[in-house]
């Protein structure tokens, strides 16, 4: 297990969070069929850092964007979804 620094609640146990999907899995309404297919069904799935969407399901219930290492679980960057809007 690891700690996730929720942008709203601060560092909390990973047990409170739910992995939602890889950021590359987001399908956009204006995407081509090929882009949508790729978003739904193909992944880089690296042994390295990847952008992911999580939810603080048992906390503030906010959606979070993070760049997390898929082997060490180190989180290099984290922010609330929509923080830059």
């Amino acid at each position: 297990m690891f700690l996730i620094a929720c942008p709203h609640c601060g560092p909390r146990s990973q047990a409170e969070f739910v992995y939602e999907r890889a950021e590359e899995a987001v399908a956009y309404p204006d995407g081509t069929p090929q882009e949508t297919l790729a978003a739904l069904y193909t992944r880089a799935n690296p042994r390295d850092f990847a952008w992911e969407l999580w939810r603080h399901a048992y906390g503030c219930r906010g959606w979070i964007r993070m760049r997390r290492h898929r082997t060490t679980h180190e989180i290099a960057e984290i922010e609330a979804v929509g923080a830059r809007l």
Binding site: M1, Q14, A15, V18, Y19, R21, A22, L37, A38, L40, Y41, T42, R43, A44, N45, P46, R47, A50, E52, W54, R70, T71, T72, H73
Partner: protein, 422 residues
């Protein structure tokens, strides 16, 4: 020396007793890779070794190498809960897993290797009226397709597994069950060793400590692999590395419908026989069985986020132990001996991928989620057929990589393209 396999038998064992068991030859050779093979199989787990065996045995393709980056059976083959069954809901899964189960039934004799295959039954418990409805549906589906299934009343379940908590205030009240009597368990290491020995005797080179670092593609065609033991040419390259499929497929520029997640398993100290079947549940994700050595083997949910770490999360240990004790309270007296974790290839419909890839002469066998062990013989059998003939066997025709684009997914859990919701 290919073909020089010394048969294992009671008589040979008795003879060995007179010379301190010093006359046993090694079970398989340790060859250096040749420059070229008809088929190079990437991955020396049970599936890869089974593929090599059936290529040589059924199809006469004997210039075959199995490349394993570590030692054979050191990956997911040695990390599962050893359960074998074919009681799935969808007809494609049933046909394929029943082919596999039929191979299991004669496999110890065929390989001349004791796989300790024990058809002690695979029992699914129902904990509510709706569970029982779903079990009835599953049982009907299995019987319709010629697979054994028997619905059990609450009393029949209690007789079969007397240690289940049948009290009025049980945490998981048992309403009944559905058993596949031909299901059971097998010794997982022995499956890898048995296939390796039998494949080696047919001339297959089983090469350990040889990691594939690249896939050579010329003019759109796969022509070989780069390894830590040098370049190896091949007419066909067969990826068979579930857990790491994305990494190896990326060497050929492919992106797969796979995410890698952790799955844990646990084993207790060995005790005298107390559980004589495989216990599973329709409502909770908990598997309980007892190994021939006496250990209670437990499995549960995966860790539900992508990871290659091979380290499980403690909260899952607590959860699985809680569920197991809820079902069989006597387990609370046992000390846990080990827990471990493996990397599973979570495919995006929950079904495996076996077939061609968009790159010519490159084949893929992966995406086993947490259900690969039971499929080992069938997976090798149909993959060998696909590699030898260039076309899928009828049993793996529905499991091609192209099914995701065409919409013909095989979604046993009906949960959509999200690997963490299997």
């Amino acid at each position: 020396m290919p073909g020089a396999m010394k048969g294992y038998s009671a008589l040979a064992l008795l003879k060995g007793g007179f010379n301190g068991h010093k006359s046993w030859p090694r079970a398989w050779r340790a060859p250096e890779p040749k420059a070229f093979y008809d088929v190079v199989i990437v991955g020396g787990g049970g599936h890869g070794l089974a593929t090599a065996y059936y290529l040589a045995k059924v199809h006469g393709v004997r210039r075959v190498a199995v490349l394993e980056k570590s030692w054979i059976g050191g990956g997911n083959t040695g990390r599962n809960t050893t359960i074998v069954r074919s009681n799935y809901r969808l007809p494609q899964m049933q046909t394929f897993l029943e082919l596999s189960l039929k191979l299991w039934e004669g496999l110890s004799q065929e390989l001349n290797y004791n796989l300790m295959f024990s058809q002690r039954g695979a029992l699914l418990l129902g904990h509510s009226d709706s569970d029982m409805t779903r079990l009835a549906e599953l049982g009907d589906s299995l019987l319709t397709n010629g697979i054994d299934a028997k619905r059990l009343s609450r009393e029949q379940v209690a007789r079969l597994v007397p240690l289940l908590d049948m009290s009025p205030d049980a945490r998981f009240p048992v309403h009944g069950g559905l058993i596949q009597p031909r299901g059971g368990t097998a010794r997982h290491d022995a499956v890898a060793w048995g296939y390796a020995r039998a494949a080696d005797a047919l001339g297959v080179d089983v090469i350990q400590n040889c990691e594939v670092t690249g896939i050579d593609i010329q003019g759109g065609k796969t022509v070989g692999v780069q390894t830590t033991k040098g370049a190896i040419g091949a007419d066909r390259v067969a990826i068979c590395v579930a857990g790491d499929s994305s990494t190896v497929a990326a060497m050929a520029g492919l992106r797969l419908p796979i995410e890698s997640h952790m799955l844990q398993a646990f084993v207790s100290e060995p005790v005298k026989p107390m559980i004589n079947t495989v216990i599973m549940s329709r409502s909770i994700h908990c598997y309980i069985s007892q190994s021939d050595k006496g250990e209670i083997v437990l499995g549960g949910d995966p860790d539900l986020y992508p990871s290659y770490s091979k380290r499980g999360i403690p909260m899952r240990i607590e959860e699985v132990a809680g569920q197991a004790i809820g079902l069989v309270p006597a387990l609370s007296r046992l000390r846990m001996l080990r827990c471990w974790s493996g990397v599973t290839d979570m495919s995006f419909d929950g079904a495996p991928i076996i077939g061609k890839t968009p790159v010519e002469n490159l084949y893929l066998n992966g995406g086993w989620c947490y259900g690969g062990f039971k499929a080992t013989p069938g997976s090798g059998f149909v993959y060998a057929h696909t590699l030898a003939t260039g076309a899928p066997h009828p049993a793996n025709a529905p499991f091609g990589l192209e099914r995701f684009a065409s919409g013909a997914t095989i979604d046993e859990a009906a949960s959509g393209p999200q690997p963490q919701s299997r």
